[in-house]
Each structure stands twice: as C-alpha cells, then as structure tokens.
C-alpha cells in the first residue's frame, strides 16, 4: 500500500451511525477522481457500513485496518 497517497483525512472518531457514512459522502466529493480518502472511526458498526457503502456507491475500499480500537478506511474515489 506504499503507493497510496492520501488526499484527505476525515476524522469521524466518536461519531455514531450514520454520521461517519454521511460525512464520508461529503468528503469524497471534495477529492478528485482517482485520489484516496482516509476515514478514521471508532464505531465497530462501521466495518459492515463501509463495506456496504462502497459496494453501493461503487467507490473502492482500497484498504482497511484497526489499531487501538480505531478503524481506518482508505477509499478511492472512482467517479
């Protein structure tokens, strides 16, 4: 994943459903197609939600990880 350059980071930590998804929708519109958005969340439900959101919208979930109970999603804007 070393070739991924993050264009923008969205800090959605401590927000409850559905705010991380709603704010991600706004944030992805602020980067260019082909760029990567990083989202940080503390919501355990976000694992299923980000999978569903990228499936539904067609944006690419390029990477995800968890460290110290913080979920990190890397999403590529595809359109």
């Amino acid at each position: 994943m070393s070739d991924i350059k993050i264009a923008k980071t969205l800090d959605a930590k401590h927000l409850s459903c559905p705010l991380p998804i709603l704010k991600t929708r706004k944030a992805i519109a602020e980067i260019e197609i082909g760029e990567f958005l990083e989202v940080l969340s503390t919501d355990p439900g976000s694992v299923a939600d980000f999978k569903a959101w990228t499936n539904s919208t067609g944006h690419e979930l390029a990477d995800r990880s968890i460290e110290n109970e913080i979920y990190r999603y890397i999403i590529k804007r595809t359109k």
């Binding site: 709603l22 569903a52 959101w53 539904s56 067609g58």
Partner: protein, 157 residues
Amino acid sequence: MSEKKKKLAIIASKADIPGAYPPLILASTAAAMDYEVGIFFTFFGLNMLKKNKLNKLKVTPAGETAMPMPIPQIVGMLPGMTDVATAMMKSWMKGANVAKLQELMDLSIEAGVRLIACQMTMDVMKINRKQLIDECEVGGAAAMLEFASDADITLYI
C-alpha cells in the same frame, strides 16, 4: 454506475423521538449510498416538517416499557414526566454522539431526499403550507404510491 438507482420509499407516521429517528437515519444514509429517496409524512409524522420543530420533539415514558427509567410505569403518567424522559433520552444520545434530528434532516435535504407532506393531515390538523419547511412538497396518497410503486424498499414507520 449506469444501472438504475436503487429507490427507498418511507412513510413516516410518528414524531416522538424514537419514531422520528429511523426515517431520517435511513433516508440520509440511503441518499449517501446513491439511492433515490422519498419520505411521505403523515399523521403525527407531519410534525417533523414543521419549522423549528424537530429538536423540540419529545418521548413519553408512559407505555414505553423498555425505556430504562427507574420509576414504575404509572409514575410516567404524571405531569412533567414526559419532559424528564425527554431530557434523559437527549442526554444519552448526546453521550453517544448521535446526530441531532435537525442535522439528519439537513443532510437529507442536501442529498436530495424528497419530502412529501400529507395534504389530508394538513387539513385535519389545520396546518398551513407556511408552517412547513420550504424544502417539502405537498401531496396525497396517489403521489406516495406513484413514488413507491417502483421502489426497492418501502417502509412504514
């Protein structure tokens, strides 16, 4: 994506706090997922479209047997208990960083969710168009059915 957008149609018939959250959470999320979304506000649900009303909605402890309040059910009937329960629920929600109803409504509107006010309810409850937010439209059963007829998901809340 070139295929047809998915579509969500909701009938919102309640406007206490537990009844108002699900339509707005699902509508705003579906819109963020590129769904086409419409909500038909009828009966008490119409209150959600009144200007400056959303953050004043309440919850009553009477009859809410699952609400974790340290009082017998009958006490919930006493004057003032609805305000007590509302304050408690709002503090729990604030503690969990849940979005305010107005915030969810604003995000729904921004994402293009269609808001349809039930004309018949407006007549029954003597609510005029000027009391409702500018972003909504007014319609009846036929308007709702026409929108819902090819929806992928239809919910009555």
